[in-house]
């Protein structure tokens, strides 16, 4: 009750002073301008700012979603095309596994080299394969490689045939160096081949 009376007296005093203030036109102008600026600031901060931010966020969100929708459509059509192409080469996929096997398969490499040498009538003196992991490795998606070298003896046709077989093998082999030297005396038809190559696999 006392608070109400105090407020009432305060308002009464302010109301009585109002005509004195409004007499001075300059004071009224300054008061009006200041009040307008404060009001604009208040509503600008608490009403206009959040509204504009929300509107901008929504516009940006709509634009982002339209963009991502288009990209999803492109991706879906890409997947469908990939599926079609994959169906066309499905039967040939084992060839890829043969070209780059899942593990080192060094024993198969040695067996095939021996087979090629036998077919080409080349005698292998030495075959050396670099260290390779025997245990099955976890899929890494990275191409691994190991080197091997061999020394063999045979005539030129045998050498040529052997290298040709090696190059035409389904498993991809890179020949790093090939050295042919005459074996024994100058009248000897046999050549000595020193070959260094790299085999690949992808766990």
């Amino acid at each position: 009750m006392q608070l109400l009376n105090f407020n009432r007296s305060l308002f009464t005093q302010a109301y009585k002073k109002l005509p004195q203030i409004t007499k001075n036109k300059k004071t009224v102008s300054y008061f009006t301008i200041s009040l307008s600026l404060f009001t604009l600031s208040f509503f600008g901060f608490f009403a206009i700012r959040p509204t504009i931010i929300t509107a901008v966020k929504l516009i940006k969100s709509v634009s982002d979603l339209k963009k991502i929708d288009l990209e999803y459509e492109n991706k879906i059509s890409g997947i469908i095309r990939a599926q079609t192409e994959f169906e066309q080469i499905r039967d040939s996929l084992p060839l890829v596994d043969l070209a780059i096997p899942g593990n080192a398969l060094f024993h198969k490499l040695a067996l095939v080299i021996e087979n090629f040498a036998q077919v080409s009538e080349l005698s292998i003196n030495q075959l050396q394969i670099d260290n390779v992991p025997i245990s099955k490795q976890s899929p890494s998606g990275k191409l691994q490689k190991y080197s091997f070298s061999l020394i063999g003896i045979g005539n030129y046709q045998a050498m040529s045939s052997f290298v040709q077989h090696l190059i035409n093998w389904k498993r991809i082999i890179t020949i790093n160096s090939l050295e042919l030297t005459r074996e024994g005396g100058t009248d000897n038809k046999n050549l000595r081949i020193a070959l260094k190559a790299t085999a690949y696999y992808e766990p």
Partner: protein, 62 residues
Amino acid sequence: MNRKEFAIIALMILLTVIAWIFFSVFGAGRMTSLTETQLKQVVPLTPTFDNDIIKQLQKRED
């Protein structure tokens, strides 16, 4: 504080609020609403296989 200073302070506050609004709106416009997962999902896919390599492999011996 006289009436003129009061008006100047009000004006400064208004200018600050306008600048604040501008930078807030600019910041909101720059922020993307897309998640990391969505951005990863839309990485372009190249749906072509090199058929020449397959043909070349078919010609090779076992």
